[in-house]
């Protein structure tokens, strides 16, 4: 790729702080949702509609990946930027295996210390400890994935597959989006997914979730501007609000079963099951509705974004991989506190708040490390500057 390719799309110069803010918030919500039986998780969006923080996380990850690596691909070509993307995928793989080690420690502890005649069946989950040779190998192959450890493998696949997609996005963004939607449709038609161990398939089907990732990337590469006219139309905003209200009322019947009688049978027949594995269209629609409302009311240059209240979330969003991994670890730890120490309401609030404080403090520490490293090595070439300013993809 020596000659300068004709670039159809331009990568915007300045990073959108809203992305970091909402990704940071999504990371907090994922942490809260991952603590089992946590009262505080009642504040998270999955209880009030169809989609949850995962959609936000995947979309923004696609957006930032295009932002960071798109620039790199334009300036330094396909090979260099692909190498970078794959390096990132490798880092995430290492992080995933590290989390798996922590999970093994936890489950081995429970296997040794817990016995209750009520839960003979549930203890079947410990059976895999009897053949660690197979299990650990399957974990390394990303086929055996413990609870709540499905997001990183998805992210690895999405990144590994991103270089050709980004190449296409930079040449013809809309064609790339159509290709991605075509893959999504083919997945539904043919029932594609990645196999899991000991049985079943991936909890986040990469063939499905790539759509949201590519859509994020498409928005980063000029799509958002093209949509801008539509996003401000009162009709779209009205539809979005109406749909959110509908989702909310359906979600209410999950929590208060007796309200179920008010939902017509036809509606039940149409909407269920709302497929999380294959990223149901209803979930995409719910995410899009949330996004429309958010973009409508929080503009890019909203001065509030610079206010200190949002700094903690923004910092977490800028160090998403580390914060995510820490969040998974902290949710294990929080569950451990609930079972070994106390699961009173007060403890649940304290542990949830403390977890978020630890996430913010760690992200701040990482930001500080980055700043001293930047100062220590003097001025750098602009390409790497962009990577740093872009933070984590």
């Amino acid at each position: 790729m020596n000659e300068k390719p004709r670039i159809a799309t331009t990568v915007p110069a300045e990073r959108d702080l809203r992305l970091d803010l909402f990704r940071g918030i999504a990371l907090w919500l994922i942490f809260l949702d991952h603590i089992p039986s946590n009262l505080v998780s009642w504040i998270t969006i999955r209880n009030y509609g169809f989609s949850d923080a995962t959609e936000i996380f995947v979309f923004i990850s696609g957006f930032t990946a295009a932002f960071v690596y798109g620039k790199s691909m334009q300036e330094r070509g396909f090979v260099v930027s692909s190498a970078r993307i794959l390096k990132r995928a490798w880092q995430i793989y290492i992080a995933h295996i590290f989390l798996f080690a922590i999970y093994l420690a936890e489950i081995a502890y429970v296997a040794q210390s817990f016995d209750n005649p009520l839960y003979g069946e549930e203890m079947g989950i410990l059976d895999f400890l009897r053949q660690p040779d197979v299990t650990i190998l399957q974990a390394l192959l990303l086929k055996f994935k413990p609870v709540n450890m499905d997001v990183l493998p998805l992210y690895i696949i999405l990144l590994a597959w991103f270089p050709p997609m980004l190449w296409l996005l930079l040449r013809n963004a809309s064609l790339a989006l159509v290709a991605s939607a075509g893959l999504y449709a083919a997945m539904w038609w043919f029932g594609w997914n990645f196999p899991s161990y000991p049985s079943g398939y991936w909890v986040f089907n990469p063939y499905a979730w790539q759509l949201l990732f590519v859509f994020g990337a498409w928005c980063a590469l000029g799509g958002a501007q093209r949509l801008g006219r539509w996003l401000n139309s009162p009709i779209i905003v009205g539809i979005a609000i109406a749909y959110l209200v509908f989702c909310f009322s359906i979600a209410l019947t999950w929590h208060i079963p007796r309200l179920g009688v008010f939902v017509p049978k036809l509606v039940n027949e149409i909407i269920y099951p709302i497929d999380k594995v294959n990223l149901d269209v209803l979930r995409i629609a719910h995410f899009l509705a949330l996004a429309v409302i958010t973009v409508r009311f929080v503009s890019r240059d909203w001065p509030g974004l610079k206010s200190q209240i949002f700094t903690p979330a923004i910092i977490c969003g800028q160090h998403s991989l580390e914060t995510f991994c820490l969040g998974v670890f902290l949710s294990f730890a929080a569950h451990f506190v609930f079972t070994e120490v106390s699961n009173s309401v007060l403890t649940q609030f304290l542990v949830s708040a403390l977890g978020i404080v630890i996430m913010v403090a760690t992200a701040a520490l990482l930001a500080w490390y980055k700043s001293i490293e930047r100062k220590g090595s003097g001025p750098r070439p602009p390409a790497i500057q962009a990577d740093l300013a872009g933070g984590e993809a």
Binding site: E106, L118, P198, G260, Y272
Partner: protein
């Protein structure tokens, strides 16, 4: 909302240690019983003074040891129903074996229903499927198939979901399986006995200690007794003669 009530009750229970002295009362979970759907065949069987029930389940429908036959929830359900419907001959047959997935139970469902001549199937499933991470689509298909078999065999159905097990919560991903069970029940308009939420409420309120490691059976037996009673409540509320009128039967 439920959580909010849980919090309030939890705070109350925490403020008044005297309350803890009273014997565990599992009726706090009564509100978890969902009675919007009817059980027309059970209503008919009750009118004929003869109700046969089949419990199809896996390991969490039994207790270890010999006392299981008399103290696990199927047996407790039978005695609770006999109390509630005097004059009706109630017989609960339990087809229960540990480690069975929904698909494995579907295979033996038809002969079991035929043999027991049940007017009601109580189908406990979900845990083993979640432990073995059976594909959700397949799990759903098994549920639908089982329900269809029950209906063609002349039985109503109640679906029972997993136990709430706080120790293994971070290891078994019950969530999606749980949701799918609820959705299948909603779609086909039959009751779901939400054992998970009921036990969670008991745990939150301190009705039962579901955390401790123990080899003793006393708590486990009381939990099963309460599940049997609440199931009987559900059947009573939905199928009692002169109660809710069933929709027309095609």
């Amino acid at each position: 909302m439920r959580a909010l009530i849980g919090v309030l009750l939890g705070v109350l229970a925490w403020c008044g240690p005297a309350l803890a002295e009273t014997p565990a009362d599992c009726r706090v979970a009564e509100n978890q019983i969902e009675t919007s759907f009817s059980l027309p065949r059970v209503t008919k069987a009750l009118a004929a003074k003869h109700l046969d029930i089949l419990v199809m389940g896996a390991g969490s429908s039994m207790l270890p040891g010999e006392r299981s036959a008399s103290h696990a929830y199927p047996a407790r359900l039978q005695s609770a129903l006999a109390e509630k419907f005097p004059g009706v001959a109630v017989k609960v047959t339990a087809d229960v074996k540990a480690g069975r997935t929904a698909a494995e139970m579907v295979r033996v469902l038809k002969p079991a229903l035929m043999a027991s001549k049940a007017a009601l199937l109580i189908w406990q499933t979900g845990t083993v499927d979640a432990v073995r991470s059976v594909e959700l689509y397949q799990f759903n298909a098994s549920l639908e198939k089982g329900i269809a078999i029950a209906q063609t065999s002349g039985a109503d159905a109640i679906l029972m979901n997993m136990q709430y097990s706080p120790r293994t919560e971070s290891m078994i991903a019950l969530g999606l399986y749980n949701e799918n069970m609820r959705w299948v029940a909603l779609q086909h308009e039959f009751p779901l006995f939400d054992r998970f939420s009921i036990m969670k409420l008991w745990s939150d309120l301190g009705t039962f200690d579901l955390y401790s490691a123990t080899k003793k059976l006393d708590t486990a037996e009381r939990v099963h007794d309460c599940i049997g009673r609440l199931l009987a409540d559900l059947i009573f509320e939905t199928a009692k003669p002169g109660g809710k009128q069933p929709p027309e039967i095609r």
